[in-house]
Subunit: 217 residues, 2 copies
DNA sequence: TTGACATGAATCACTATTCATCTATATGAA
DNA sequence: TTCATATAGATGAATAGTGATTCATGTCAA
């Protein structure tokens, strides 16, 4: 997918050297775009800004990407894959509740590390989807990643229900929805506070309320 | 605030009639804008679309509003006030938990009735704020309304804690945050399903999980 | 006849994208 | 090793599309 984005390089001795260089440019552009998009949002970000941030000329961007949108999608795609990877890393934890716990922690840690991108990724998984969905239809790829993540969570919840760890008088969907909501809420609030380095630590509150509720025993 | 938006009408005998007419135009424009913004989003909505929907010429819009943004803010403002009103209506319920319950139901009912505007209002109270905040800074007024609503909720939560109805080993802020998150989650999911008429009914699940948690007793 | 105001074509601003050029490097003959 | 030439690809000025906003004009009620 990434490969088809630009003219195929001619086969030659130069190949290796050129590729190195091209890859570096590509990388620089993506990183710059991530910074700029993260700072001012997709709409407000100007290609000129991205070019400046990357230290290249505006025209150069188009030697590596077809359009602004393609750059955006590349970012979403990359970040989405990384995010998904964080989930996969804990897929094998046997105990359902422990798995959910691990998922949440992994997700929060990822958020915390890439705060600026929040509105493009995690957010891209719902929030931005609403705020901007009509502005640019989201990359299909990113949606897939999103769905798979929801899927992993739902599976864990289902397993927990099956294991008698979670209530069975509510549907798995409802439980998953709520879990997701609590997660969003924390990230939301954290983002609003300016992304201080305390997000990961708050998972405990999330799980506590999700599992035990807010009512005084 | 609304009054300062256009040239002051001259005092004259026509006044009454003119005002009537002007008010009608203004109203039509706002309603049209609400429809169009709700349908395609602020960014994608064209003034020409709004004009067409309102059945007036594009230029006419500018006889009533300074700019596209001002129209948007007027909508947010109006909707925000209505939304806030729904909360105020239950402010006097004594029992804190009952008050929270009433708040949630009122909010959901409002959502359900104005689904199309979701992303401009309730959403405008957080979700869109992130998705688009850099695209157009939100109206100060709307932010105020938002804050006041959060305030009302937080007060109810605090009262519940004080009354021994909610846990006191978590901060009021944390509890409120979670409540808000659960609310968002439901509306989110509902919106994604295409706004079917079942939102209000789901408040029970929300409160159930918030109060009792998801763990199997 | 006059003034308020609706009209919509013309203007203006903003940017993504294109493209004619220019630069730097690689190649290969001397 | 050195120089002439070719070429990938960097450059940024020019283009082009979009759509908000303006304004000269026409209409209608008083």
């Amino acid at each position: 997918m990434t490969a088809t984005r630009r003219k195929k390089p001619r086969a030659s001795v130069r190949e290796t050297v050129r590729l190195e260089t091209r890859a570096a440019y590509r990388q620089a552009i993506l990183e710059a775009a991530e910074v700029v998009f993260g700072r001012v949002g997709y709409q407000s970000a100007r290609m000129a800004d991205v070019a400046a941030e990357a230290g290249v000329a505006a025209g150069t961007l188009y030697n590596y990407f077809k359009s602004k949108e393609e750059i955006f999608e590349s970012i979403l795609e990359r970040a989405g894959d990384e995010f998904y990877g964080q989930f996969l890393a804990h897929i094998n934890i046997e105990d359902p509740l422990a798995r959910i716990d691990a998922f949440m922690r992994a997700a929060f840690q990822f958020m915390e590390e890439r705060g600026g991108l929040f509105s493009l990724i995690f957010a891209g998984v719902g929030i931005v989807e609403w705020g901007e969905q009509r502005i640019h239809k989201r990359s299909t790829r990113n949606s897939e990643v999103h769905e798979r993540i929801e899927q992993l969570t739902a599976e864990a919840v289902a397993a927990a229900v099956a294991a008698g760890q979670l209530r069975d008088d509510l549907s798995v969907d409802e439980l998953t929805e709520m879990l997701r909501g609590l997660t969003d809420a924390l990230v939301f609030a954290w983002y609003r506070r300016g992304c201080p380095p305390d997000l990961a630590a708050r998972v405990d509150v999330l799980l506590d309320i999700f599992l035990n509720g807010a009512r005084k025993p």
